[in-house]
Amino acid sequence: MMNRVTLRKTVISCALLAAALLFAVVFMSLLGSEPLPVRSSLCALASFGSTSCGLTSDQFDILFQIRLPRIVLAAAVGGSLATAGAGYQALLRNPLAEPYLLGISNGAAVGTMIALVFFGANEWTRPLLAFTGALLATLAVYRLARGRAGATPERLILAGVIVTTFLSSVIVFVTTLMDATRIRSFTFWLLGDLSGTSKAMLPVTIIIAIAGALTLTLNARSLNLLMLGERDAFDLGVEVGRVRVVVFLVASLLVGSSVAASGSVGYVGLVVPHLARLSLGSDNRISIPAAALGGAVFVIVADTIARTVIAPRELPVGAITALIGAPLFIYLLKRA
């Protein structure tokens, strides 16, 4: 249903962002605590790992077994969170709606922690319970935010603050159920950490990220109409109820899978969709796919900083996204 101008704009901007993503994947994999020979690494990357191009077996393993999986995970997490943020913002008609600020990440974190405490050995329970937690948190925020006058922006943010702080207390409570030696790892994970890339879960995270971004993009026209108001959207033929359920489910799934993989990486869902709308306009058919690709680039860059700036030690990536995200967001607010 896209007119030619919109279609062309979508294709061009997505192609440019996809190129930026590829560039980020390749060049950020050259950076790390251990220096790798640039030319050989590029050659090995270009051959998709089929030849070593003179890299030693350790260098080859660092590049393909450690860095690349972590960068791909960063892309999946960043894409998921930015897409979820764009989805919530369109559905709730509030530019401040964001998984982290609404407490949805915290819901997913509680789910993951429960999975870790009670079903520690079974990795599959983590994204499952994280999804459940995210969904419950989303429903709670939505129900709290909807007063008689509808979901006003203030009410929504207030509901988010309440859900966030409540779930933070639940997290503190769950940590007391853990033994001392594990708490340190959890505080680090809670801040968002990509170092624990699990080979088994990586494909799941990637598939959910791509499928989620595609689903929301396909619903972008309905979301555009929803932004006019639910009554108007309904009059224009949008199945409001169905779209709402789809966005809630997809966004919760995206947040759940990324939190289960990497903890709560904040500000991605806020900063990236804003940046996409400011530069490309508020048409969701462009801004949602653009946010997905931009989020991937943003988290890749943030994680590269996290793992190199005090190398060989590491910082949690969430600290970097917040350090970049918060000032950037204030700047965007002032400019808008």
């Binding site: 251990e34 033994d179 030696t181 793992r307």
Partner: protein
């Protein structure tokens, strides 16, 4: 008490004759008078001052018979120097020796609970810097409870902690004997591995995320004494979060997993990045009780012996 009442009467008489301007001087006099009284008490001075590892001068009673420990290693030290009967409070992490579990728990090392601590009326609270409790230490001091901080960075520091705790509890002789025994055992290990080529070791404190022992950790010193060369010996900090690619690039010849103690079965496998390391290929992965390697107390020497025997089995035949 007799002399105190006499001197107080004297001061009161003095006060009544002097103007209010002299009050500060009189207060000073009173303080001096009181301070000089303890001379008559048979036990000697009522208070003493000890310098702790944070460089603070800690004033505490000369005789301490109620003490609280806020870290597992300090609880172990208290019992090891024979001061278990003086321990009135411990943290929920303090599980060794088994007798420690019958002592009242006052929260955990990170979150001790002030009210039960005050209710237990300790004279001294022993704190480890791992608990990072600046504010808490201040609160204790406001309650007139001495807070003594320990912060060992090597085995010598652990011995010093034992001597300090011994001195606080009036168990100086027991502490000295204990330290002497521990020194002998340490010396025996060092002699046994002296001629051995140090093994390049990676210490895995936890796998997900990856933590190791750095420059400021006593475990790094233990490894050195056990005939090992930690590949992370120069990394700043005590327990840094470490890059897995740097661990891989270091090509350790042996890996030590801290597991089996409080850690339970956690951290009992080598991280994915090190699966192809020389250590794993040569089968040189050693599980050592994490309580011996992470608690700077008397059992650190057990950890030293266990590591040395694992790394250099032929040196102990």
């Amino acid at each position: 008490m007799q002399p105190s009442q006499h001197s107080r009467k004297g001061v009161q008489a003095l006060l009544s004759r002097t103007s209010l301007k002299l009050l500060p001087a009189c207060t000073l006099l009173l303080t001096l008078a009181c301070a000089s009284i303890p001379k008559t008490v048979p036990d000697g001075p009522l208070t003493r001052t000890l310098t702790d590892d944070a460089g603070r001068r800690v004033v505490m009673p000369a005789r301490v018979d109620r003490v609280i420990s806020l870290a597992p290693n300090l609880t172990e030290i208290v019992f090891a120097v024979g001061g278990g009967a003086q321990l009135v409070g411990r943290t929920s992490y303090c599980d060794y020796p088994p007798e420690a579990k019958s002592v009242a728990a006052v929260g955990d090392t990170m979150h001790p609970s002030l009210e039960p601590i005050i209710a237990l009326k300790p004279q001294v609270v022993l704190i480890s810097t791992a608990s990072q409790l600046e504010v808490f230490t201040q609160q204790l001091q406001n309650q007139n409870i001495a807070a003594f901080v320990t912060d060992p960075h090597d085995l010598e520091g652990v011995f010093r902690s034992i001597e300090q705790v011994g001195e606080i509890l009036g168990k100086k002789a027991q502490a000295a004997t204990l330290v002497q025994t521990l020194r002998q055992r340490t010396y025996a290990v060092e002699q046994a591995v002296k001629q051995k080529q140090p093994v390049r070791v990676f210490y895995q404190l936890s796998g997900e995320p990856l933590y190791t022992a750095g420059r400021d950790s006593f475990t790094t010193d233990l490894m050195r004494r056990a005939g090992a060369m930690s590949v992370t010996a120069d990394v700043p900090g005590a327990w840094p979060k470490y890059s897995s690619e740097s661990a891989l690039a270091a090509k350790p010849d042996a890996i030590i997993l801290a597991t089996g103690g409080s850690m339970g079965s956690a951290n009992s496998t080598v991280i994915e990045a090190l699966r192809q390391s020389p250590a794993v290929l040569q089968g040189r992965v050693y599980k050592i009780n994490d309580d011996h390697l992470t608690r700077p107390g008397p059992r650190a020497v057990d950890g030293l012996e266990e590591m040395a025997r694992a790394l250099h089995p032929d040196a102990f035949k």
